[in-house]
Amino acid sequence: MPTEPGGGRLVLVVARGELQQQLRDGLLRLAGLLMLVLLVASALAGWSQYSRDLVEGKRFTAEVRAQWLDQGEKHPHRAAHFGSYVVKPEMTLALFEPGLKPFAGRTLWLEAHSRSAFSYAPADDDVSAAAGLGLSSGAAMLQLLGGLLVLVTAALTVVREREAGTLRQILAQGIEPRAWLAGKYLGVAAALALAFAPLALGLTMVLVVLAPEPARVDVAARVGLSTLGNAFYFLALLGVGLTLSTIARSSRTALVLALGFWVTSGVLAPRVASHLATSLEPVPTVEAFQTAIGEDFEKGYDGEPGWDTRLDQLEARTLERYQVRGLDDLPVGFSGLRMRAMDGWTNQVADRRYAELEQVYESQARWRSAVAILAPFIAARNFSQGMAGMDWPHYRHFANRAELYRRSWVERLNQVLEQSLRGETWEMDAGRETWASVPEFRYVTPSVGWALAQQAGAFLILLGWAVGGAALLFVSGARLKP
């Protein structure tokens, strides 16, 4: 009489059997194939969009610079108000994971006095952008539909054996339920890995090869981490799905439970999280924010004097420094000094308000993370967006660098006023030489380490869910009934 395989060998035997069964399952094959077609189609559409955006972004940047240089002779301060635009560069990962791109503008307008916010979000102009449930990218499709495929496959795995009566036979043979479930877990995981691996490998190669030479290592690391994050997410769903399958008495119940989990985690939770975050920690409107900055500027804050007092102090200091009786006698352009002081004070006021705004963003992120603890889809999406460089921290990083550039650029133009004018005169014209003295904006996307630090919480949540899903299955295995 043949002996029952025990321990690790049993796990492998069951895993192999499950893998073969899953691969023979017409439904899984069909669903897997459909997923693959959708993902490839989505990646191709993303590629086309990414290539177009890349070319347009470069052309736009070059033309904006040319327009800046060729703006003709005018007052430097009017040139500062004519302003300039900068475009957020994208890594190749954006073709599969565009993240916030449809809802955030690509461009920032830089002009005198004020820091600008993102505008011209593509979704504002594209009525069709929000037609579905946010399934507009390959990554979203993978996480939402791929997640459903994993859940449904796992949820039917044990319960089918129960309905067919084979579970009773297996348990009657004295097979350790947890080892049997571990085999099932590995078998389904292997089947799903086989379904997704070709796409993951192909996509990784494309993303790395398309990336410019200096960024390839960084891109490869980001793709690797993104794949790992998605793998944790799928393993979590696999654990949950199999656990539901061990509990449910019928396929019908298992399906309803799996569907319920998917809807709650993937469809409801993101909206609830977002609603909670914006209701509890609302971001001010642009108008309210600018009004607050304006009031701080005029009246001052925390003992800091407002602009009128500052201007009086500046006049007194300048007269004393140059030992002259009136502003008209100054050997330098007072309007340049005044503009520098005005921009310095504006920056100080704005920094304070933006620091408060950053606190709001952080609080909102904490609320969303709190919901993500219960709904792994949110964590998977945030992590994926972060690795692609298309999450809010990356956008803010870009905006902060653009702001530093704006300040240096405005400062340069104010220096021209100070050096070219005398006394309190205002009118003057500068030309191409002055415009060319303003350097071009150079932006380097932060490293993978920085990106990982921003999304460490999401990564830990995914890891926790992957481990927790397996642990849940382990616990439910002890109570497995035929």
Binding site: G57, Q67, G72, W109, V263, V267, V272, A273
Partner: protein
């Protein structure tokens, strides 16, 4: 079959339906989610209404203050403040601080959908200067827009169909699994009547919840004459959508051998309707009617601005040649005023004359996209529900176009009213303040709305009739074991 036994059948099916705690729990969950979405919507629209009202009050106050200052200065009781002299058109009207906030009132069912736009209401800031130079910026984390709002549009487009399917996926398949279907067929009532009774019970329960939530939302938002019509349209669409999903469920049940298979097939339909078709429709619509290229828009805008600045003298001369009476007669006492009056002002007018068609073209593109999307809604009840909810809540691109057109008309009158006073630096009088133009908020027409709703309704009706017919045919041929 007479009405009486059918009512008895309905009562019996209701008892069976209500006896299952899962059904009641699901209905309770739907009611809770719909109520939560409605509450969010009412709160959001209240905030938007108050923001619009505050902007209007602040605007009225600012103009009343200027008028009062003018009277006091003319009576010699007050000295004019620097840069804030109400007699000086350049300071009082040309400055962006003098811009007027223009907005349509929110429609009665604004609470039903947050649309795809940001939470802020659309208030246009319109004055003498061009309003095409800056985009609608936002400080919001765009991730919230990606997540989407928790509104009634989301509930009726995506959750309601799911709940409908969960409540009906085994409406016949379960009897077949339990082996009691042949027994049902042997009764005096037909199988179709029994299934119709079961579906009717589910329809009444689901529609009852949505109608209740819809009515509460409408009352909480403040009932106005248009509310009744809009609410009827929305509830009729909801009814057709529930009916279509129930019909689909009955058709699938007629041939599915097990409730699990029925559930999988219906889930596939839902994924198709809620996720894949809207996404594919979006791709097709973008291909047929590409969204405007904002990068080119900005380049065009800046190129024109540069060109006009370079031709400042030419533009100023052309302006005064066209309006010789507007030529300033007095010398300016400072170096700033001539720039604003004789350079910036004519340039703004020239800018809008040449650039004006570009934003209008963008509006037209948005409208065209929306029309294509409405046609595509024939393929998906979810997309239909989303679009009709957005439309009734005031998010149709046609409405945005109507607001911009009304703003353009207002700006034209505003510029004509103050033109001479600005360009010739003639002091403003009380009459200029008292007779200043006011915004006429002419919303998109009833006929336009009806035509938009008609397209979506036709799609939903087609779905309802199609699935009902399919279900009736399939049930007649259904195998019962």
């Amino acid at each position: 079959m007479s009405a009486h036994p059918y009512l008895r059948l309905l009562a019996l099916e209701w008892k069976l339906f209500a006896a299952a705690p899962v059904n009641l729990a699901l209905l309770g969950l739907l009611a809770m989610l719909a109520a939560f979405a409605a509450y969010n919507g009412v709160k959001r629209s209240e905030i938007q209404r108050s923001l619009i009202a505050e902007a209007r009050v602040a605007d009225a106050q600012a103009w009343a203050d200027k008028r009062r200052d003018l009277l006091e200065i003319e009576a010699g009781r007050k000295e004019p403040a620097e840069y804030r002299d109400p007699r000086n058109a350049s300071a009082s009207v040309l400055s962006t601080r003098a811009n007027r906030p223009l907005a349509f009132d929110l429609p009665p069912l604004a609470a039903v959908s947050a649309g795809t736009a940001r939470d802020d209401p659309q208030i246009l800031s319109v004055g003498i200067g061009s309003r095409h130079k800056s985009g609608e910026a936002s400080l919001d984390d765009p991730g919230h827009r990606l997540d989407g709002p928790f509104d009634l549009a989301f509930v009726v487009a995506w959750l309601l169909p799911l709940v409908t399917l969960v409540l009906s996926y085994d409406v016949l398949a379960r009897d077949r699994e339990q082996g009691i279907a042949p027994l049902l067929a042997s009764q005096s009532v037909t199988l179709r009547a029994i299934v119709a009774g079961r579906l009717a019970v589910r329809f009444l329960a689901l529609f009852g919840i949505m109608a209740g939530v819809g009515l509460l939302t409408a009352f909480a938002s403040g009932w106005i004459p248009r509310t009744g019509g809009d609410l009827t349209v929305w509830l009729a669409a909801v009814a057709l959508s529930i009916g279509a999903w129930l019909g689909l469920s009955a058709a699938v049940n007629a041939w599915a051998r097990s409730s699990a298979l029925s559930a999988l097939v219906l889930l596939t339909f839902w994924i198709g309707s809620a996720l894949l078709i809207p996404t594919t429709a979006g791709v097709v619509v973008r291909a047929l009617s590409p969204p405007p290229d904002r990068l080119n828009y900005l380049l065009e805008l800046r190129a024109l601005e540069t060109d006009l600045i370079k031709r400042t003298d030419e533009i100023r001369d052309a302006y005064y040649a066209e309006r010789p009476a507007n030529r300033p007669t007095k010398a300016f006492t400072d170096e700033f005023t001539p720039y604003f009056i004789t350079e910036l002002y004519p340039r703004q007018l020239a800018f809008d004359r040449r650039f004006g068609p570009v934003p209008r073209r963008i509006e037209a593109q948005r409208v065209e996209q929306a029309q294509y999307l409405r046609n595509a809604a024939f393929l998906s009840p979810s997309l239909s529900m989303k679009l009709i909810s957005d439309d009734l809540a005031g998010h149709a691109p046609e409405r945005r176009a109507a607001l911009n057109a009304a703003a353009d008309r207002f700006q034209e009158r505003w510029r004509i009213h103050f033109d001479r006073k600005i360009a010739a630096a003639v002091p403003l009088t009380l009459s200029d303040y008292d007779n200043k133009p006011e915004f006429e908020p002419i919303d998109s027409s009833v006929a336009g709305r009806a035509s938009r709703h008609g397209v979506i309704f036709a799609g939903l009706l087609l779905w309802f009739c199609g699935t009902s017919l399919w279900a009736a045919t399939a049930l007649r041929r259904a195998r019962l074991f």
